[in-house]
Symmetry: C2
Subunit: 480 residues, 2 copies
């Protein structure tokens, strides 16, 4: 039975998502600013947790953060041919500052390859300046007609890494390192969402890239969500922005660049991967609050003995758990249970007068609503029990998501099978088609090639559409 | 003797500042985007340290972070009369999205009272929703004609708190709590910069505020830098945006709001408060890297014994110090010393073959360049020594800045004295003039009333300009 205000997933998955966003107070529509949302505190706290997990990994792999201008001269976007074609329809233009009409308009950054390329060209002189490894946390804007909180909004928050290398091999190594050690590692370990790592097809790659890689996650409706992309830009942007360096032999060389990003879309991925008809479910490693304590009492005498016990219980928790005590006086325990379930706090600890007598507490797991997830635990050793439980929940969420993905992934050997399979999940298929073939499949099935997995079987088979023999397997799915 | 590339402060303070910004690689001019800069990694790392120090205090005092749209309908800015007058000349307008000309333009937020007021009006229903305590980290833009890195740029980074309260007293308490417990506490303890806390005059207050408070710091040229502002907005924005609530008696009441912000200007304050003719000086509590270790060797045999000693020395440091080992092979120790002095690392540890023999290291303090700040310290117990030294440096920087401010602050009792005193620092003066009088003093002396200090002597005296008797003392100074 779903909670009040939440449409069950089985009835209407799309409405369920919007209900979770609203009921867990993650975001509000900014109808007065086309295509934008407000990140409410509960939603923004998840973004802060995502930032911490990614930023730690980005720095641990040798990158530094910097900050480049929000506005980009419109002429910059025009310098890389594929790039302008990809972004032109979505540009948001600034044409007036104070009383001055601008002869050359600015655009609000949709992504920063061009403006950063301009500076890199000034900064880089010699091979000693390479590799240059910089990341930026920023807001970006792209005109979006159909908006959906976190998943597709005109303004969104992201990080964008931009690096420069002396050789193609160095750039490729960086591109793949980010995919594996930063993006996949974070999404799988912290967000508890399994991902497929793969190469994008020519049709789906980033405008201006040589090769794009992505991590792709499966949502609970079987659709794919691209959760991070890493691009080897080759020398395309280096040529457009004249990023050159003097090598060891004193010869001027054109550099090789990469860019890579993940965005506040990940909040949408988090919601759709784990949440249920009771509300949001947040994995413990990412949860801003991991444990909420709800004291239960009927009168002042009970209140003071329960609160005294709570104080004693939580004394050992500081520095070991992220927790809060919900001691709001005017609300019933039932109201509080409901609120914290909606907001996805991984574990609830209830302390009532009987618990005080017995020296125990009730512990409820958010990932297993109802009696199945409830147990009575001695106060003695409680913090160790909770630490273990949080680890178990983290693991269990990952395994559940992995099982779900495996169940909803199937190899298909005919176009008919492909059409059926993308109704429920990922279709693994041999593929030797052209970009036009790919477009035809998309038009007919609404599924796209999400990626050419890095992990290839290496056996030959027949292309699901053309029948040509090939060793290349791809993943087709409908995507967010 | 100043470093190469740095104009001595005594010769040209303004050029010295620009030299520090460039030589320490803090920022680059973004000449292609009017009035904007790039925060380079060294500069951005200082901003991240400032963010952490402030964010911890903002959260510890009960606020949550959220994120509101970058774009604001231009009509919103028009709703509060003083606000529009203050900001209209500086607005940056978005008039086109993709192919669409916008009938109603957006502006890029110069500050977010209006757009946030719009949402608060939707979110707040009852006294139970109050107080609403939200902060936002964001970029903002204001057209600026004369730019100066960090101090005055068209785009800058900041935090802006926006809170709603049931009563005027609650709003005033919040406004002052932020000034004392968040802003002054952070700037004095972490940045080691002493501040004056005070009320702004009507002429200097935030457009639309009932009362503005600020913290004011003195730079090494005796000029003031406003380092944070906290505004009691009264009911001005609540009325303009219809922020009302039902009170305990079921009566609809207009709410009281506050807003408060500090920005990346603080990086400028940090540079100008502590740095010297050798480069940047960063206080240890704020420094991204507190200790740099420079190994010294002439050949491979020395290199391996020195590096082995370094490994052993730093083994105990993890989790206790923020440090890095500069083991770059192609650079001389002298080059490295120069680079880390320029970048303001508080302590340098040198380890050479003789140190390995003697079981000691050389320790150099950045705040005391040359021999005065250098000492030889046993490797045994080194980490405790360094922890103590960092605390001592932090304290010493604060005291030096405080002494400097005290020496450059004087009470003045005539307009002539005031004119002389603002040439060298802060003038403390009795004041009973009008806004027109204040403007006259500014036109004639280039000094403004920085604040009416919260700490008032309470004795009567004669206004420095009008001769009227008053108990109000103010601080006059030239300001950045």
């Amino acid at each position: 039975m779903a909670k009040e205000g939440i449409t069950p997933r089985a009835r209407d998955y799309s409405q369920w998502y919007l209900d979770i966003v609203q009921q867990a107070q993650l975001a509000d529509y900014a109808e007065v600013v086309r295509g934008c949302i407000v990140f409410k505190p509960t939603g923004y706290a998840i973004w802060e947790a995502i930032q911490r997990g990614l930023d730690d990994r980005i720095k641990a792999t040798g990158h530094e953060n910097a900050y480049f201008p929000l506005l980009i001269p419109k002429s910059f976007i025009m310098k890389e041919a594929e790039h302008v074609e990809g972004f032109a329809p979505e540009l948001i233009e600034v044409t007036r500052i104070g009383k001055d009409e601008l002869p050359d308009p600015y655009i609000i950054r949709p992504t920063s390859e061009t403006i950063i390329g301009f500076f890199y060209s000034k900064w880089i002189r010699s091979y000693r300046d390479l590799p240059l490894l910089i990341n930026q946390w920023a807001n970006v804007m792209r005109a979006e007609m159909r908006t959906r909180p976190f998943l597709r909004t005109a303004e969104f928050l992201w990080q964008e890494g931009h690096t420069v290398h002396a050789t193609e091999a160095d750039a490729e190594r960086e591109t793949l390192m980010i995919l594996h050690d930063v993006y996949a590692d974070f999404v799988e370990k912290d967000m508890a969402v399994p991902v497929l790592k793969g190469l994008k097809t020519e049709k789906e790659k980033f405008p201006g890239a040589l090769r794009s890689y992505s991590i792709e996650a499966m949502m609970q409706d079987g659709r794919a969500l691209q959760s991070g992309t890493s691009h080897n830009l080759g020398q395309n942007f280096a040529k457009a922005f004249d990023i050159t360096f003097t090598d060891q032999n004193n010869t001027i060389q054109t550099a090789w660049t990469t860019s890579w990003g993940v965005s506040s879309r990940l909040i949408g991925a988090l919601i759709m991967a784990h949440s249920d008809d009771e509300g949001l479910v947040v994995p413990p490693r990412l949860a801003p609050t991991q444990v909420v304590v709800v004291p239960i009492y009927k009168n002042e005498a009970e209140r003071s003995s329960v609160m005294a016990a709570v104080e004693q219980i939580i004394a050992a928790w500081k520095g070991r758990l992220r927790f809060k005590v919900d001691d709001r006086d005017q609300l019933t325990p039932g109201y509080k249970f409901n609120e914290w379930e909606l907001k996805g706090i991984p574990v609830r600890v209830e302390v009532g007068p009987k618990d005080v007598e017995k020296g125990s507490v009730a512990v409820a797991r958010r990932d297993m609503p109802g009696k199945a997830g409830k147990s009575f635990v001695p106060q003695q050793g409680l913090v160790e029990h909770l630490e273990g439980l949080l680890t178990e929940i983290q693991q269990s969420l990952y395994e559940r998501a992995l099982r779900f993905r495996d169940e909803r992934t199937a190899a298909v050997s005919s176009y008919d099978e492909l059409k059926q399979q993308v109704e429920r999940g990922f279709a693994r298929a041999y593929w030797a088609g052209t970009t036009a073939d790919e477009q035809r499949v998309q038009d007919e099935t609404r599924a796209t090639i999400r990626c050419i997995p890095l992990d290839q079987p290496g056996r030959a088979g027949r292309c699901v559409l053309t029948g040509k023999e090939t060793t290349q397997e791809v993943i087709f799915a409908r995507a967010y």
